[in-house]
Amino acid sequence: MALSVHKYDAVVVGAGGAGMRCSLQLARAGLRVAVLSKVFPTRSHTVAAQGGIGASLGNMDEDNWHYHFYDTVKGSDWLGDQDAIEFMCREAPKVVYELEHMGMPFDRNPDGTIYQRPFGGHSAKYGEKPVPRACAAADRTGHAMLHTLYQQNVKSNTTFFVEWMALDIIRDAEGDVVGVTALEMETGEVSIFHAKCVLFATGGAGRIFAASTNAFINTGDGLGMAARAGIPLEDMEFWQFHPTGVHNAGVLLTEGCRGEGAILRNKDGERFMERYAPKLKDLAPRDFVSRCMDQEIKEGRGCGPNGDYIALDLTHLGGETIMKRLPSVHEIGKNFANVDVIKEPIPVVPTIHYQMGGIPTNIHGQVVVPRNGNPNTVVNGFYAIGECSCVSVHGANRLGTNSLLDLLVFGRAAGNHLIETALASKAHKPLPANAADYSLARIAKLDQSNSGEYPQDVANDLRRAMQTHAGVFRTQKSMDEGVVKVLAIAERAASLSLKDKSKVFNTARIEALEVANLMEAAKATMVSAAARKESRGAHTVDDYGDTPEHPLGRNDEVWMKHTLWYSEGNRLDYKPVQTKPLTVDTVPLAKRTF
């Protein structure tokens, strides 16, 4: 059967901040650009971001990109590539001002400049004092950014394919990427998008964990597609946790709670943080508090009938303070935990928030893989940007506000790179004869299934296993067990069954296809985590504790390198961290203290 073929200069998969910043650059240069999205563009997960975009504008206090660069390298626990970090921090003011000129409604100072708020980890004078660096549009920064970019794209004639799900990458005999296959939900038909280049901006895979602040849409499709096409995934063991997500819901409770004096208690009512961090107590850094909470739960001091959460107690603050300073916390308590936080503690657990790893790229957004001794050989025709990519600016731990910045800087850079390489005048490479066979076979297998489990049952087991074995508190034994468990779940996921076999708008089929992507992201995370025998940033393993040779468990001699996980053969490889920035001196290794 002949499939319909859509031909474009560039196909961008994903209409979040990264995808739309890139498509805008391309469309403005007169290229024919298609953007595919599973949901309406302004409903992409970028809309959830409230805090802001990091840029050293220096509008509130002295600041410059050197300070931002230093903070980001240190925050990354020296796993971030210093060339990419320099590039991002230098470009930051430019991309923020560009957004301002496009009409982004940033908050303002009385003198008309962009207002900036402080955020954890951002400092002036190389860690000396906090500096306000986050540019925000009230608490709707992501929303405002998506709307601004969408309107500009419409003006520039970007073509949107909404409720289309990309399925697989098409590579030719030379390994170059020449298109993607995609399913139109409305008709259930598969089509081919034939392009001179394909850009992935598909967001994170936060739904591989049971407790996640991410929306349901974040199923890591780009990671799944890349992994199935033989592209490795980089540094997937590094996931950022937030200490106070509502138990069983994931919804985030702001750090402001603990700032105002809220206390974390175990089942005995003990303020356990006093034991772990006698000075900072409940206000110790995010990753540290998260690990202490998990330890309490693992050692049987969790609250509730299953002993699986921690109580965040605000009752001593009094109703008046809560309603005045933390009204959203009161609302979240009522809506997602059935709890009046004025009268009783609210159940919380450390919750997955952000994926630091992803598809390996260089600073132009080009996907790179090891080949013939070069760890960063470009895959022709393939780019990745945003949370699905690993460039790597976040290394082992991301600083707040650096993700929205990453989307803007590298979305724009990828667009510019394509324009500079004269994409418009290049010819399309021919499609291979069997371009869509693989995707069609995957769908046919689902449609023909009459035994096997339902996708959501397998996905739920996967999420539970990931939460237990690759959660915030990691031990070597538990991670090794996790590898066995996740690989067993992957076997089950290989033969899913569909209740509904209809063709048109079959949500069950879409969810089954998503499970295949979740599986790749989960395997990459679990296997990479079990293999990294040190603690670094968000990957903290109890077995590798603080020693004089390896402060905080970080072992630079052996492990200062990026992980690369290949789906085929479930194999690992490593590549060096780029410690040389573009123009300035390297930030030398140091212990990460707070």
């Binding site: 409903r43 929306a215 349901f216």
Partner: protein, 84 residues
């Protein structure tokens, strides 16, 4: 009662940009299944065509700025929010 196709579409369009909306809308669909009248269906479609932040303000009861004729479904969503 919605057709399978209507329900499937509705379920997909209740996939939102942030978790709060995902949870409340999924809670509603899990409870009601395809049991919506044509009028309720129409109201729900109008509401989920709003932006996520605007929809959440309405569900959370902070805004009454919703499309005309959607009062019934707004009340249902607000009830779904508070009744766990």
């Amino acid at each position: 009662m919605l057709t399978d196709l209507e329900f499937s579409k509705l379920r997909w369009r209740c996939r939102r940009g942030f978790l709060e909306n995902d949870i409340i809308l999924t809670r509603l669909l899990d409870r009601r299944g395809a049991n919506f009248t044509a009028e309720e269906h129409e109201q729900l479609l109008a509401l989920i065509s709003l932006d996520d932040n605007d929809l959440w303000e309405i569900i959370a009861g902070r805004s009454d700025d919703f499309p005309q004729g959607c009062n019934g479904m707004v009340e249902t969503l607000r009830q779904t929010r508070v009744n766990h």
